[in-house]
């Protein structure tokens, strides 16, 4: 059932960030950040709150422009390829009481594919059904979006991202609003998807994601990369400071 990603951009890196700095007014959020994500990788981006994770995501998605440095996604300027990125936001950016069904929300992931006039076509609805199947949420398709629980909504947003048949999946704190059991489910699902998709996931929970990802990028204004085995006390210490390491170890 899962389709091979369209290998249109050949073998170049999926995300390439070179010497990027960014500041909001006086506050420097990112400082000389370099990051390269290769095709097929599962990268975890961790770091404390206000460490610049969301800003870096917005830059990769093309919602912000870097003030210094260079970002290429799939070999292009991010805003040119944003429809080939599947994005799952941390908080839904829509009102929960909007009169719309799960099915319709997921079909919206097809925006920008094929003709853009009139209603969605049968092919779009079929892709939406496949995506709902893949996240095991087909039974929710007729439900109103406002009636879903946090975990169900997370799956539906993932399905919306998958419906657009992206080449890279970017998730911002996908497990922030769900319990531990649901957290494991979501990451198991992502591990399966990683067979055909490059995945970049933001999380504050370094201990949990290191079981799943192939590489951890630690961001606290500056960025340091580790293989998962190398995320030891020193790395955590460097990132969060001494007090947090103690908490993390008692986990």
């Amino acid at each position: 059932m899962p389709k091979a990603p369209s290998q249109t951009t050949g073998s170049g890196p999926i995300v390439q960030i070179a010497d990027v700095s960014f500041s909001y007014g006086d506050a420097l959020v990112l400082e000389h950040v370099d990051l390269c994500v290769e095709r097929g990788e599962f990268v975890g981006l961790v770091g404390p709150n206000a460490g610049g994770k969301s800003t870096l995501l917005k830059l990769i998605l093309g919602l912000l422009e870097p003030q210094a440095g260079r970002i290429r996604v799939l070999g292009e300027v991010p805003s040119q390829v944003s429809d080939r990125i599947g994005y799952v936001p941390q908080f839904p950016s829509f009102p929960r009481d909007f009169p719309i069904s799960v099915e319709q929300v997921v079909t919206m992931g097809r925006l920008g594919i094929g003709s853009s006039l009139g209603w969605y076509r049968a092919a779009d609805r079929a892709a939406a059904r496949r995506a709902l199947d893949e996240v095991e949420a087909s039974d929710l398709s007729k439900r109103r979006i406002g009636t879903l629980s946090g975990g169900q909504l997370q799956r539906v947003l993932l399905a919306r991202a998958l419906a657009g048949e992206p080449e890279i999946l970017i998730l911002d704190e996908p497990t922030a609003n769900i319990d531990q059991r649901g957290e494991t489910d979501v990451f198991d699902l992502l591990a399966t998807l990683n067979a055909r998709l490059t995945i970049l996931v933001v999380s504050h929970d370094i201990a949990f994601i290191s079981d799943y990802v192939s590489r951890v990028a630690c961001l606290n204004r500056t960025l340091t990369c580790h293989g998962t085995s190398a995320v030891d006390g020193d790395a955590i210490h460097q990132l969060y400071g001494d007090r947090v390491r103690l908490v993390d170890h008692s986990h």
Partner: protein, 282 residues
């Protein structure tokens, strides 16, 4: 009521008024639904009131107030839309200012136009009985523009009303469609001003769609039901106001308002009863 029905057969102006009401309700159903779910009623109010500037200018310079209203509505929609897109922080203050400035301009023009004092009342509160028969074609044309634009770009309008950030990521030119939506609101406002006047427009733009939203949970369904409700309210208002010679616009609005309040209360109680029954059955 029966007096109205027999008069309807005899008087062409009543037939014109009835058709004008039905034509206006298409706009109030289709665009009103967007106004309600996107929560831009305040912006729509701003557009509606600043239209007085255009109507006053049209009157003063001696061209059709309908045309003046249309131009002013589109201009003010673009202005208000740009304000919303670029100065997010002061949005409500600026819309409020445009709202009042438009009205002030209109009143100055009307005051300086000799012999037209009665027009002010019909601009503010509408007079469906004075719609000229020729204007029906113009109204039908505007309806066609509204419905075909929404049908053609349904995906984009749904996307920007539901989730602007996601729409932007999927390559939808959000600012363009946002301004286009506000222009459609402006056209609808002009249609509705014929019926209830610019002060009461906001009620017809929101109440039918809000009532539909109590029962239906899809945009298409809300649009259809809101159009039917709008047609019902304007026709009933026309009929009920005819006998006792009441002003039609306010009668229409009171009917819509009463149905809205009843519907809000009853749908609230229905939901609670349903929830209680489910809990007991479990």
């Amino acid at each position: 009521m029966s007096a109205f029905l027999s008069a309807l057969g005899d008087y062409a102006f009543l037939q014109t008024a009835l058709i004008a009401g039905l034509l206006a309700s298409v706009g109030c159903g289709v665009i009103g639904t967007f106004v309600v779910v996107k929560r831009i009623a305040f912006m729509a109010g701003g557009i509606a009131h600043s239209v007085l500037g255009g109507m006053g200018a049209a009157l003063y310079f001696g061209f059709d107030p309908f045309l003046g209203a249309l131009i002013a509505a589109i201009l003010s929609a673009l202005l208000i839309g740009t304000v919303r897109l670029s100065w997010k922080t002061q949005e409500d203050t600026l819309i409020g200012a445009l709202w009042a400035i438009g009205m002030a301009i209109g009143i100055l023009f009307i005051a300086k136009t000799p012999g037209y004092a009665s027009d002010l009342m019909s601009f503010l509160f509408g007079n469906i009985l004075l719609v000229p028969a020729g204007e029906l074609w113009l109204m039908a044309g505007l309806d066609l523009v509204l419905v075909s634009t929404v049908a053609l770009f349904y995906r984009q309008f749904l996307a920007i009303t539901f989730d602007e950030e996601f729409a932007r990521l999927r390559g939808v030119p959000v600012a363009f469609f946002y301004l286009l939506l506000l222009c459609l609101v402006a056209v609808t406002v002009v249609l509705l001003i014929q019926v209830v006047g610019l002060i009461l427009v906001i009620a017809l733009l929101t109440l039918p769609a809000a009532i539909a939203g109590h029962y239906l949970h899809s945009l298409g369904g809300m649009m259809l039901l809101a159009t039917l409700l709008g047609g019902g309210f304007t026709s009933l208002g026309l009929a009920l106001s005819y006998g006792p010679d009441l002003p039609t616009g306010p009668t229409i609005i009171l009917i819509a308002g009463a149905v809205y309040v009843l519907s809000a209360l009853s749908s609230h109680f229905l939901r609670r009863r349903l929830a209680a029954r489910r809990a007991r059955a479990a």
